[in-house]
Amino acid sequence: MKPLLEVKGLMKSFGGVRATDNVHLDLAKGEIHAIIGPNGAGKTTLISQLSGGLQPDAGTVLLNGADITNMPAYKRAKLGITRSFQITSLVMGMSVLDNVALAVQANDGHSYKFLKPARSICHIRDKAMENLAKVGLRKRADDLASALSHGEHRQMEIAIALASEAELMLLDEPMAGLGPKESALLVDFLKELKGQRTILLIEHDMDAVFALADRISVLVYGRIIATSLPDEIRNNDDVRHAYLGEE
């Protein structure tokens, strides 16, 4: 089967730093593909180039075979790519429900609609509430986003990614800063999504990665040094040496 996303020869440098160095990657439909690698390896930079936030220096990105390398971020979102942010990125001055409703609204035709109060549009509010409930934030719906804890912000990021109904979710360290209990809940939750969405998962929590991933790629200094099944990655000498910290 043709992959959903294909990345070929992607390059990105910041000054002298090669953050993305000739990356080749493909994601099959419905797969959870994890990317692991030390801090500064270029994981976030890679996601930004896939979501359209950053422009690569060279290489191509194909979605369903169509070249989207130069496509602006808002258009990629319309094609079904969404991302979460490693550093929480929400509309802090709005309510939790408003934040998710904006994600629903983005898929509900254009928003050049000036008359009806946005908060009175039931099908949008209901759907937003549904997604909030899925991540366990129903009770906080009316609170200001800025009033929530770090863990709840991470849950909001997931609710927003879900509400956008994107086929491809790029998740940048969704477990960062979560306690063990919250992490476990999120792992269960992502497991349920397995097969329904295609997920590129960046994560440091190895238990989560090995519990979820169909395949794992290891990124070091901007280069992918291995892409394999989880078990093979666990036993790969290069990987253990470079990343898992074993001699």
Partner: protein, 321 residues
């Protein structure tokens, strides 16, 4: 009405006072106060229009006075030609033509300057909108036909159906209703789906783009709407002062408008009007004491803005609002 907020009540109260007091003063022989109120209400419309960008869009436009000038010249120029001949295409006292010109030209100016300005952000946006405003200022300064710097006297006001703008009461009535409509309009827009996108982009543009919103065009739309409203205020101001000059477009005028919004409280319904009221009353009182009023005026305004963070409306806010 039960779920009205405290600020909601204050807004109603303020608008009620503006509806009753100025006509009362006029009928009792104090035409001066009516004049003051008319200016206040018209500048209030301009401030409300700016608030859509500044308060809800986070777009600090420093060239908004240009729209006031364009709207005023849309009255002055056709009226001038109707009196003195020439430029037959637009020479007319017809108020509807003036209105269409004021709003149409403002929309066009907003579309072109906004399309360019909105490619930048932050302080660059502020500088470039100011530069476009100054371009309009210099353009009209250079137009000798309309007396350039010396300005243009409007001999005949716009002729409108139903209202006679020569009557101070009727001019005020139109301005007041326009202000109320402008406030409702901005409130409706802000609460709409469009408004949610605009406010979301103010807070976190990257997030909105990631969700699939082309925020550039949403902002441009807001810029054009705001420009049209401000041009309409210019139409009223021209008819009110019957004297127009490039000075109306000077960057310091844009600064005053910005000041009114921030002073009263941006992203509130009444804030811009409260701000313009305080601004105009202070200016009036101080200038009656001394000709050196600019310095204390400036100092007082700076003091107010610094000490009442979030604007004067903040003082009225109930708990949890």
């Amino acid at each position: 009405m039960k779920n009205m907020t405290k600020t909601g009540w204050i807004t109603l109260l303020g608008m009620a006072a503006l509806a009753v007091l100025p006509p009362y003063f006029l009928l009792n022989g104090h035409a001066f106060y009516m004049d003051l109120a008319t200016r206040l209400v018209i500048l209030g419309i301009a401030a409300v229009s700016l608030n859509l960008l500044l308060g809800y869009g986070g777009l600090i436009s420093f060239g908004h006075a240009a729209f006031i000038g364009l709207g005023a010249y849309a009255v002055g120029i056709p009226s001038y030609h109707a009196t003195w001949g020439g430029f037959d295409l637009i020479a007319s006292y017809n108020g509807m033509l003036h209105l269409v010109l004021a709003i149409g030209v403002s929309a066009l100016f907003a579309l072109i300057t906004g399309a360019i300005s909105l490619r930048t952000k932050g302080v660059y946006f502020l500088m470039i909108t100011m530069a476009f405003g100054q371009m309009a200022f210099f353009l009209f300064q250079a137009l000798d036909v309309y007396n350039g710097d010396d300005g243009l006297t409007i001999d005949v006001r716009s002729e409108l159906p139903f209202v006679n703008l020569d009557s101070p009461m009727q001019l005020y009535g139109l301005s007041y209703v326009s202000l109320a409509v402008a406030m409702l309009l901005v409130k409706t827009i802000v609460n709409s789906r469009f408004g949610m996108v605009l406010q979301g982009a103010k807070d976190n543009n990257e997030r909105m783009v990631t969700l699939g919103y082309n925020t550039y065009f949403y902002r441009l739309t807001a810029y054009v709407i705001s420009g049209m409203m401000c041009g309409y205020a210019g139409f009223l101001l021209g008819n009110f002062t019957t004297f127009i000059s490039p000075d109306m477009m000077h960057w310091t005028r844009s600064g005053e408008l910005m000041f009114m919004v921030i002073l009263g409280g941006s992203s509130t319904a009444l804030g811009p009007i409260l701000g313009s009221s305080v601004f105009i009353l202070l200016e009036e009182v101080l200038s009656s004491f001394t000709i050196f009023w600019h310095l204390p005026f400036g100092l007082m305004l700076i003091g107010l803005v610094l000490f009442v963070r979030g604007g004067l409306m903040r003082l009225f806010k109930g708990r949890g609002e």
